[in-house]
Symmetry: C2
Subunit: 120 residues, 2 copies
DNA sequence: ATAACAGTTGAACAGTTGTTCAACTGTTGG
DNA sequence: CCAACAGTTGAACAACTGTTCAACTGTTAT
């Protein structure tokens, strides 16, 4: 009798643990889905793709980006802030100029993959 | 004299052709940048990433997607329309059900790349 | 010190986006 | 045929996004 109660209790507890683990996995998966969407969201704007495409070749300061993409310095700067915050670009100061470049090879790879897909 | 005029005219024409070619290239580049941004934009929403992640494993009908992602059938359907229009997913009918799947390996590759980057 | 240049930042605005709701089409089983 | 199920679609709405403008910080040359 006491055995059966203990078994029943153990099963219930085990089942609950399983449910919790399942929920945690679902939560982690959901979190990853949001992170992936957030990553691609940053690649999902023409201005930012333009910036990263220019930086793919070599580092550039803000005014160069502004000239090459034919946009105001302010607009470029706002987008660079987003890319910087997400660790997609980095920069170094040289006198008055801030030279931006792609943060790592992962960024170049993702960008290249995008162009590859577009080129069929 | 007539030679010089002809040469001058030829140079001007060549220069103009160069400028036009340059402009066309810039135009093509700009068009590609927009296409790449448009591609990534579709990967830049949690619902759509969720759908594609589920479809990565195997094809699913709309009501399965609705259950798995805990969203209304309507919301899923709206997002599937966007993915369908851009050629990122395809579907086949089986009775009352429409089974959706990823359009090609390129889509899986881009998605996988995203998860890879998020997993450091 | 100060003028000029390089870039950042916040508020404001228009345009876009994703979800909901309700009405709709299409398919199947009774 | 028709009821039930599977899914689509358009309008409406709130939330979000990208650009502009003006004011700002930081650096350099005079």
């Amino acid at each position: 009798m006491e055995e059966r109660i203990k078994n029943a209790a153990a099963e219930t507890h085990a089942a609950r643990v399983d449910r919790v683990i399942e929920a945690e996995e679902a939560f982690r998966d959901a979190a990853k889905i949001f992170s992936v969407a957030e990553l691609f969201r940053l690649f999902g704007d023409p201005t930012r793709v333009g910036i990263m495409t220019v930086l793919y070749e070599k580092e550039r300061c803000v005014c160069e980006l502004s000239d090459l993409l034919v946009m105001t310095v302010s607009a470029i700067s706002h987008q660079l802030r987003l890319l910087k915050q997400s660790g997609l670009v980095k920069y170094r100061r040289e006198g008055k100029h801030l030279y931006y470049s792609l943060a790592d090879s992962h960024v170049s790879t993702i960008l290249a993959q995008g162009f590859e897909h577009v080129n069929e």
